[in-house]
Amino acid sequence: MNTLKLTLLIVQTFLLVYCMPARAGEIQEVTPAAMVLSHAVMCESIDDFKPQNPAIVFSIDLGKVFCFTTFDQIKEITHIYHKWFQVDRLVSKKRLTLKPPQWSTISSMQLRMADRGPWYVEITDKDDTLLQRLRFSISD
């Protein structure tokens, strides 16, 4: 059942990547030869392995914000990082494992009242090469 869900997720992700325009702050800064970051988005929640309400502004009242990434052409088991920055201060660095051939990963941040303001998440590979930077704001 889980395999089916994952397959569906991959297909959906593929369609999303090729049908949707690039979002603000989603500039592909480095394109790794082997592994491809096919989808990366900030969202309000994850439901059934799908990002819900992707956005660039999140209310503090949500309590939590998610970073969703999908990778293609994964040759071997590897890992990536989701680095959460509030303004330019590193708040959290999360190590996430990827498995061939496609894999989606999620990290989240519990929000507190002091977390309002501009944020970004840096997605880097195991060698700390920046793959993408997702920019968003936490509002009232």
Binding site: R23, A24, D47, N53, P54, V57, D88, R135, D140
Partner: protein, 480 residues
């Protein structure tokens, strides 16, 4: 004696030049405005100034305040009231006259004009009566007349004694090169031994000559004969040379040249000396008066900074200077007169230590440096680089709960920033000013300013404004 010599040795050539130059300026002002009403008003201004000093000294607060106001108003009134005189001084003559010239020798009697005019009147049988007084006052001896004070010329003399002129019957008084008075009535002589041809004009001339030491020249209206009277002596003049000798003898022309020189020397030498003394007094009062100390906080000024270098850190931005000098000099010391300059032409990237000494400090003359705090300044310099920096939007406020701000496009997505290498290299993002969410209902477009933080960052042509196109979508209620 040794003290005096030490003191004299402490004077610089600039000090002598300072005194001399200001003495000369004061003397020239006196020469230019000499005799004008403006100079006569000056003692009043000086008196007010002295009164102000006295008021300050005795602690009369209101009096001091009032006199200060009067002086300010007086300066304005003097300029307005004497504007014509001031203008005439600046308009007359050439630059040489303005800077160097002295008034012409106004007191030298123009003998040739008098002699020629006298014989011209004699030839035309125009009656004339001219008085040449000495230093003795003759006001008690003569009556009437009109103050004239006109420059002596042949035309003037001929027109005064022209028979249609209302004052032609009276005498004129000649002082130096000016006719000081016309139409003057003289006492008549009571002598009985006078020739019958002598009329009232001759008797009047004789009358004054008898009771004074004046020389009187009479031109007969009937015969055109010229008679000169002095004391009881009556002399008929035959030619111009004789008349000239007589007048010269009376006014002492031969001796006069020397005495005039001495007189001029005294006339201008005395005020010149007074001006020089006054300026010397003021100069010593200002620069060598009672010594005092003053502390002044002065901002540091950096010069000759190399291209592509910037100061990113400084141990201090100001230094405290402890200054010495006379009370008036330090009292009048303004911040614009003091400069602390640090030349950064030899500075390198990283930490640079500069010693602040008298070499770096510009002070007005007469003020000297006692001490500097701090005596050294540490500057951290860095080269400047230019880089493209991505921009992040700084959303704030509260977006309607039914809406999701799904997407925003920034144009341009990066801006070119120049700044210190160290700062620019560590810079990952530049943030915009706050963009308020509360008013957003639909998708739209706005221009926002990118905040340059730290302030040492510079944007070419100040292009730090970006256009944001944002997309708002309705929240799907089924998802929550």
């Amino acid at each position: 004696m040794i003290d005096a010599l030490t003191f004299m040795a402490s004077l610089r050539w600039q000090d002598f030049l300072d005194i001399g130059l200001n003495g000369f300026i004061l003397f020239r002002l006196y020469i230019l405005f000499r005799g004008s009403k403006l100079i006569r008003a000056m003692p009043v201004v000086i008196l007010l100034w002295v009164l102000k000093g006295a008021a300050i000294f005795t602690g009369l607060v209101v009096t001091n305040w009032a006199i200060q106001g009067i002086i300010a108003a007086a300066a304005l009134i003097v300029i307005i009231v004497f504007r014509d005189e001031i203008a005439s001084v600046f308009q007359t003559g050439n630059l040489k006259t303005f800077l160097w010239g002295l008034p012409s020798q106004g007191d030298i009697t123009p003998l040739d004009i008098i002699v020629e005019s006298t014989f011209e009147m004699g030839k035309s049988k125009v009656g004339a009566l001219m008085i040449f007084p000495t230093a003795k006052d003759i006001n008690d001896l003569v009556q009437g007349g009109i103050d004239w004070d006109g420059k002596l010329s042949m035309e003037m003399l001929l027109s005064i004694f022209w028979d249609k002129n209302p004052v032609h019957d009276g005498a004129i008084i000649i002082k130096g090169n000016r006719i000081s008075r016309v139409g003057v009535i003289l006492p008549l002589s009571r002598r009985t031994d006078l020739p019958s041809r002598y009329g009232t004009r001759h008797r009047a001339g004789l009358g004054l000559a008898e009771c004074s030491d004046c020389l009187v020249i009479i031109v007969s209206e009937e015969s055109g004969r010229i008679t000169v009277v002095k004391g009881n002596e009556i002399k008929n003049v035959k030619n111009m040379a004789q008349l000239k000798i007589i007048i010269e003898g009376h006014i002492g022309k031969g001796k006069k040249r020397d005495s005039a020189l001495w007189k001029r020397l005294f006339e201008y030498g005395t005020p010149a000396l007074v001006c020089l003394t006054l300026v010397t007094g003021i100069w010593f009062g200002l620069s060598r008066g009672r010594e005092t100390l003053k502390s002044v906080v002065v901002p540091l000024e950096y010069t000759d900074i190399q291209k592509d270098f910037e100061i990113i850190e400084s141990s201090t931005n100001t230094v405290t200077l402890h200054l010495g000098g006379s009370v008036p000099l330090l009292k009048s010391l303004g911040p614009q007169q003091i400069k602390v300059l640090l030349k950064l032409n030899a500075a390198s990237a990283g930490e640079n230590i500069y010693t602040v000494s008298s070499k770096n400090i510009v002070l007005p003359p007469g003020v000297h440096l006692k001490n500097v705090e701090p005596s050294s300044v540490t500057l951290v310099l860095d080269g400047t680089i230019t880089r493209q920096i991505p921009i992040q939007l700084n959303w704030t406020g509260k977006l309607s709960e039914q809406l999701i701000l799904a997407y925003a496009d920034i144009q341009p997505q990066t801006i070119t920033v120049t700044g210190p290498q160290k700062i620019i290299k560590s810079l990952t993002t530049l943030y915009t000013e706050r963009i308020f969410l509360d008013t957003i209902q639909t998708s739209g477009k706005i221009d926002v300013v990118v905040i340059l933080q730290p302030p040492s960052l510079k944007v070419p042509d100040k292009k730090n404004i970006v256009t944001v196109t944002y997309t708002v979508v309705q929240r799907d209620p089924a998802l929550h």
